[in-house]
Symmetry: C2
Subunit: 188 residues, 2 copies
Amino acid sequence: MKILEDAILQKGRILDNDIIKVDTIINHQVDVPLMVEIAKEIKKEFPCVDKVLTIVTSGLPYAFALAEQYGVNMVFAKKEKSKTVDLSSCYIEEIPSFTHGNVNQVTVDKKFLSKGEKILIADDFLASGAASLGLINICKQAGAEVVGVTALVEKSFQGGRKKIEELGIKVVSGACIKAFENNVPVFE
Amino acid sequence: MKILEDAILQKGRILDNDIIKVDTIINHQVDVPLMVEIAKEIKKEFPCVDKVLTIVTSGLPYAFALAEQYGVNMVFAKKEKSKTVDLSSCYIEEIPSFTHGNVNQVTVDKKFLSKGEKILIADDFLASGAASLGLINICKQAGAEVVGVTALVEKSFQGGRKKIEELGIKVVSGACIKAFENNVPVFE
């Protein structure tokens, strides 16, 4: 999507030909009008969605923008244990975090995913696919149908897309980076 | 706001006449169409806003909904230390968490708040006011102008509003709870 690729080129920064820093538009400051435009385009790829599922934290704005386009609710999987959460009523998955180098226990309350519901999984990044695969497993536990996975920024060379597509699930990203060359992203 | 009070009465739960659980509409599943309606109403109270500031995690959907109404960006203050964050470039505040019983170091990158910018602070809850007061201090460090504080759900008996209003800052909440009686919220 050209508007996002342009924003990444103008406002993003690549560290060590590896980490992409887009805190000006996605994961610290959020370019809300840009995200709304992207959500409108992504909706054309997944016409029928009952609910949008994401994971804390920086997937929330994009998931909200998408859910608003469909006029549906969104659900965010949680990482922290809260005083008010009863784990026995949750779907649980262990998801390794690329950014923080640890493993998170991720939970979704069972009452928020129903059998047969059409779920669109949304996140800010798609790299190894760990987070999306964890959310897919949670949907599977619920008997919900994952109609697709969408990310704002994909690093296709890290293999996430391939693993998800092998499950027969469609993947659409806002901007797909196939490589970094001298700290500049090269888009697919 | 009647639509939110009704949603809280129908879908919320009060635990021990103290904790209000609204995970069906606000902080696990998000009722996106409801939040958009609330944001439209709140905009009437604060006509001139350059940016919406919130804090991770469950303030993000509401802040996004508000920013979209204004056509401006949102910024979310962070709690976790990330590999890609340089603390020397951040405004920092210590904020005690009522829910988790600890103190968080909260950061906003200096480049996302400018002198004279009109900031609307938004969060899901307003109780003791600790989070909002921390964000107000961060804005003060930046020389930005806080035009108001808004929360979806306020527990007015916990004193947050009073402390913020004493600073000369307007507070508007979607639903203001003045007491719990037999595990039922009583609205102002």
